[in-house]
């Protein structure tokens, strides 16, 4: 992976929402096939950053470029943070994936062998063949997550954005989805940017991490970024990066945390005690 194929470049991106700065000078770039974690606590600006990349939120300053050119809709696959699939809709998992392929086209879809095959392959790739013909609104959270990943990937985007896809999954599904995304990104050359509030499930998989705190970001290799001095300077007060039993925990000194409570109530990423 050299600098040759930049899939995404974010340069000095600033966003203000409701009069409050939400992103401040965010800089990072992704190359094709790279798997990147977007880590930050609740309210740090992860969703806003992803929506800015999609062009849903205008930038105040800076620029966001895709594959060297401007933003192109459709060239990005997206799995939103909170998506409630209505059980009242008559859509099977395979219909949702097919809509990812050509849902923006006008007119009814003509039956097509190659289209059906591509959908079938995608369903198999995410391990959703088993429930491909079930109503999508009635599937479990993890199953819906897989279907939505397939929906996003089926048109072979150069960039895949996933907003907290691991939030509601158990340990096993989390590991499976991460491994799956890792594999798919390697195979297809799709750059993956995945947001999460806990970095631990991603530690072994991430090529790169973008760490957000109160809208400011640092980016780099995981062991370059997740360090006491780097994160302390990002937060603006002292935090300790502690490694226990192969997990990373970021701990803030309590007194400092209170002084900064307005924006960062919970800068501590702890792993659940087993």
């Amino acid at each position: 992976m050299s600098q040759a194929a930049a899939a995404l470049t974010v340069a000095g991106a600033c966003v203000t929402l409701g009069g409050r700065p939400v992103l401040r000078e965010v800089n990072f770039s992704l190359t094709a096939g790279e798997f990147c974690g977007l880590i930050g606590s609740n309210g740090s600006g992860k969703t806003t950053l992803l929506r800015a990349i999609l062009g849903f939120v205008p930038l105040d300053q800076g620029r966001i470029e895709l594959g060297g050119q401007g933003t192109l809709p459709g060239g990005i696959g997206y799995v939103p943070q909170k998506i409630e699939l209505d059980p009242g809709l008559p859509l099977r998992a395979r219909d949702v994936v097919a809509l990812g392929l050509d849902g923006a086209r006008l007119g009814p879809a003509l039956p097509s062998r190659s289209r059906a095959e591509r959908v079938e392959q995608m369903l198999a790739a995410v391990g959703a063949s088993e429930f491909a013909d079930r109503r999508v609104g009635l599937l479990s959270g993890g199953q819906q997550q897989r279907v939505l990943v397939a929906h996003a990937l089926v048109r072979r985007p150069r960039l895949l954005l996933l907003d907290e896809p691991l939030a509601n999954l158990d340990v096993r599904s989390t590991a499976e989805i991460v491994a799956l995304l890792r594999r798919l990104s390697r195979q297809s050359g799709t750059a993956v940017l995945l947001s999460a509030h806990d970095m631990n499930p991603l530690l072994g998989a991430m090529d790169r991490v973008v760490y957000l705190a109160s809208g400011a970001a640092v980016a780099g290799k995981a062991d370059e970024v997740v360090r006491t001095e780097v994160l302390s300077s990002l937060y603006g007060y002292h935090v300790d990066v502690v490694r226990v039993h192969g997990r990373v925990v970021v701990v803030a000194a309590e007194a400092r945390e209170e002084s900064h409570a307005a924006v960062e109530r919970d800068p501590v990423h702890t792993a659940p005690v087993p």
Binding site: Y78, D86, G88, P90, L99, G100, L106, G107, P108
Partner: protein, 293 residues
């Protein structure tokens, strides 16, 4: 039951069957998307508001279908223009537009009765009169039906993605507002057409009933549309023939067409939800937490 021979030779009957059939078909197709998008209330509101247009048409003496069309399109335009996102605001806005439109209808019908002394206008506008559709309306009605069907077919897929999730659609490059506006226009056309046939008040049945019934059974959007069209057509034609025949069984007046059609639609809905519930039972293990809305 013995059908009276030759009901197809009867001119009003032929018109009723063709315009009614067109309305049923359009309503079924547009209705499926409408129910999926939770716009049943909006559909009903458009129908009621369009009755103000119908009343105005009687007042100034133009083609009533034009009146229904103009008012339905205006109301749809207002609701889309306001661009309200949250479900609560949409519910409220629909209610307010409905209230204002009905108030206007009240006034216009009052003028129909007092200024033009068209006493029966209220009944005709609100409850429809399938057997009294003037032949001159047929070409316009069928053209409106064709336009609505075409528009629905064109936006079929983008509308489905938008219904699933607006963000997902936007990420795919779909212009969500334009698609929604096109759907609303198709809805307004469907509503005007059915208001003309079964009456403003009952067009909701034609629009929502077959679609809701089909959605209880179908597993795919395309089959939902086909099934809804089938139910809508069968109920409309069956109801029209039933009403026509009822003149011969009942002493004197017969049953109103709207009553026959709506009753058939409702029976179809009950049957569909019974079958649908039976088919679903093994799949859904614990509906205990389900709140029904």
């Amino acid at each position: 039951m013995v059908l009276t021979a030759g009901f197809l030779d009867n001119e009003p009957m032929r018109i009723a069957l063709s315009v009614g059939g067109g309305a049923a078909l359009v309503c079924a197709v547009v209705g499926v998307a409408t129910v999926m998008r939770r716009q049943a209330f909006a559909a009903h509101a458009l129908a009621d508001v369009s009755s103000a247009g119908g009343s105005a048409a009687y007042l100034i003496g133009v083609n009533p279908l034009l009146g229904f069309l103009a008012m339905a399109a205006a109301a749809a335009g207002i609701m889309e223009w306001a661009d309200v996102r949250s479900a609560r605001e949409r519910d409220l806005l629909t209610g307010v537009v409905l209230g204002a439109g009905l108030g206007l209808a009240a006034l216009l019908l009052y003028f129909d009765a007092t200024v033009r002394s068209v006493g029966g206008a209220a009944v005709t506008v609100l409850f429809g009169s399938m057997f009294a559709i003037p032949a001159g309306i047929v070409p316009l009605a069928l053209a409106v039906a064709a336009v609505a069907l075409l528009a629905s077919a064109i936006i079929h897929r983008p509308l489905l993605v938008s219904t699933l999730s607006a963000d997902l659609a936007r990420a795919q490059g779909i212009r969500v507002r334009a698609v929604a506006l096109t759907h609303s226009v198709a809805l307004a056309l469907a509503v005007a057409l059915s208001a003309m046939t079964v009456g403003a008040i009952l067009s909701t049945a034609l629009l929502i009933g077959p679609a809701a019934a089909a959605l209880r059974l179908a597993r795919r959007p395309a089959s939902a549309v086909a099934l809804a069209a089938l139910i809508g057509l069968a109920s409309t034609w069956g109801g029209t023939v039933l009403a026509y025949e009822s003149y011969y069984w009942t002493p004197g007046r017969g049953w109103p067409v709207s009553f026959c059609i709506v009753t058939l639609i409702f029976c179809a809905y009950l049957a569909a939800s019974w079958v649908g519930a039976r088919a679903e039972r093994p799949q859904v293990q614990h509906p205990s937490g389900c709140q029904g809305h």
